[in-house]
């Protein structure tokens, strides 16, 4: 009985769970956008919810033998069991308004959506497939940044992925970057900021440094709304803020404009 209802963390209203789910995981009372899983994201965006997962044949390892309170290999195992995913991103092919696209959707539930070798490789493969088959690329980011447990290998994924999406420029192929809550650190400082069009969901946390690190550095409280989508739009870092219910039509319209395809 109790688990049919949930409390919205934003407006504190008690809401019938089904109502949130039917509303694309957006609070019907306050419009708060709950985090979506990568799979839900693909279902929501692609035509008829039809997606074909690609690049499913690569799997993470523990290249450094990293161990804090928990071994990295154990963290990978736990995340895999929790999310049923191999790592923090899914690549899929499908169509959006009939336009063939590759979508990379990041999964925050897998180690905070962090980018290690697998995320870097899959984003790169997505861009390379788009290049090879002359498609369009959409990346939905949701990440705390580079994955510390893979050390400098993770750091270098910033360059690897940025180089890969850079190739789409010369080829004249569209890349739309969708930033969702949260997108920070190494993901923001690489492909997520490199879209031909950068958009974000409302009230997402987007930035380079985490708010806590900034607070500790400047020894001041941060202003309200700092590093929110609205803040980024105001400072010229985004093309627009798009509510989840409008995301699909927005992407279709943007792709048609970039591909010069009037109705």
């Amino acid at each position: 009985m109790a688990n049919l209802w949930t409390r919205c963390n934003n407006c504190r209203h008690i809401i019938y769970k089904q109502d949130i789910l039917e509303n694309l995981s957006v609070c019907p009372a306050c419009n708060f956008h709950f985090r979506l899983s990568a799979l839900d994201r693909l279902r929501m965006l692609l035509d008829e919810g039809q997606y074909n997962l690609i690049d499913q044949n690569i799997f993470p390892v523990d290249p450094l033998g990293f161990e804090d309170s928990v071994k990295y290999s154990k963290r990978l195992e736990e995340s895999k069991n929790r999310t049923s995913l191999a790592d923090a991103v899914l690549n899929a092919e499908g169509t959006l308004g009939g336009i063939p696209v590759i979508i990379s959707a990041m999964e925050f539930g897998f180690m905070g959506g962090s980018m290690g070798s697998i995320v870097g490789e899959k984003i790169t493969r997505a861009a390379e497939k788009v290049l090879r088959e002359r498609l369009s690329l959409i990346i939905v980011s949701c990440s705390g940044g580079a994955r510390m447990q893979e050390g400098a290998l993770s750091l270098m994924q910033l360059m690897k992925t940025s180089s890969a999406v850079a190739k789409l420029n010369e080829a004249g192929l569209p890349f739309i970057s969708v930033l969702t809550d949260p997108t920070t650190g190494g993901v923001t400082a690489s492909f997520a900021m490199l879209g031909d069009i950068n958009i974000a969901e409302p009230n997402a946390l987007i930035g380079f440094a985490g708010p806590r690190v900034i607070e500790q550095t400047i020894k001041e409280k941060l202003p309200k709304g700092f590093q929110s989508s609205e803040f980024l739009l105001r400072h010229g870092m985004l093309d627009d803020i798009v509510e989840r219910k409008n995301l699909r039509p927005y992407l279709i319209r943007a792709l048609r404009l970039l591909l010069n395809r009037p109705q």
Binding site: I58, P60, D68, G151, L153, M156, S162, K167, S190, F226
Partner: protein, 318 residues
């Protein structure tokens, strides 16, 4: 922080020998040469004992050593007629990054590097080598100038990281770094990176990638500072040494991971004990690397640069 001082304790004798050498050098004594040679032997002997057991944290301490040569010291040694250029043509000039042109072995080259200050006042002025977006945009502007005139780009890496501040975020710290990565991947001229001290995360990467990455023996390059990593994963500042070990941040680690191209040896005691020898070692490798890169066509370089990063990463493919 207590651990931070470990290396200062280790190097105590070496520092004394070095001070003695300096005293003799500026004196009128006879036999200067024999005396100095003897002291240098002492330094070598002492270092042979210390160096094999240096911990990753010791190496971090060396990379941050306040006497270590900084970017402008290298530029001063390597180039003639260095002309510093200022400003990003958008908002400001960032003193945490220096950029400009100078002659390097008979040709113009762009020199770009993070700059730290030597005195308290200068350290603050240089923001401890932590750049704002304007710094990265200035760096990119000078790289594009180098491309226009077909000059190679030499970058020197020495930063704790990009500055985490309110204005930095407002003006697009992440965008500035991302944009540099994208542009460097397409830059038609040779780009050589030399990590001379701290290679701190995205802030280092923004000018720290190219055709070849060279690292001084006791520099480090890391996805996050050991302090930051200890705070997040161990939730304990005392875990800094463990974090430094786990992160595999030493030049040799990065060489083993296939990330860097060359380790440049440091003189006994480290770069700060004999900076002239350090400059010579850097000069030698830089020269060889540039010669190798300049023999290739821009197309070959771009293809190899892409492949170079394309192949970084460890995973299983089934």
């Amino acid at each position: 922080m207590k651990e931070e001082k470990d290396f200062y304790k280790l190097e105590k004798k070496i520092v004394l020998f070095k001070e003695e050498i300096e005293k003799i050098q500026s004196s009128e004594e006879k036999d200067k040469k024999t005396k100095i040679t003897r002291l240098q032997r002492e330094i070598e002997r002492e270092w042979a004992e210390i160096s094999p057991s240096l911990t990753p944290l010791n190496i971090v301490q060396m990379a941050r050593h306040p006497q270590r040569p900084y970017t402008l010291d290298y530029i001063d040694y390597l180039s003639e007629d260095f002309m510093e250029l200022h400003g990003d043509r958008r908002a400001a000039d960032d003193p945490a990054i220096v950029a400009g042109f100078g002659f390097y072995r008979g040709r113009t080259a762009a020199f770009i590097g993070h700059q730290k200050g030597r005195t308290t006042r200068k350290r603050i002025e240089r923001n401890f080598g932590q750049a704002n977006p304007e710094g990265y945009r200035k760096a990119l502007r000078v790289m594009k100038l180098a491309e226009k005139f077909h000059f190679p780009v030499i970058t020197l890496i020495d930063t704790p990281g990009a500055y985490p501040g309110i204005q930095a975020e407002e003006r697009g710290q992440a965008e500035a770094i991302a944009c540099n990565l994208k542009e460097i991947s397409q830059l038609k001229v040779p780009v050589v990176n030399v990590v001379i001290g701290e290679g701190g995360s995205g802030g280092a990467l923004a000018i720290g990638v190219g055709d070849a990455i060279l690292m001084l023996e006791y520099s480090f390059y890391s996805v996050i500072s050991p302090e930051g990593c200890a705070a997040i994963l161990w939730k304990d500042q005392r875990a800094v040494a463990k974090a430094a070990e786990n992160l595999k941040i030493r030049a040799q680690d990065l060489m083993d991971l296939g990330i860097i191209d060359k380790i440049i040896p440091e003189p006994p005691g480290g770069a700060h004990i004999d900076s002239q020898q350090t400059f010579k070692n850097v000069d030698k490798e830089l020269n060889l690397t540039l010669k190798r890169l300049e023999r290739k066509t821009p197309e070959e370089r771009l293809e190899e640069r892409y492949r170079r990063f394309r192949e970084i990463g460890v995973f299983i493919e089934k």
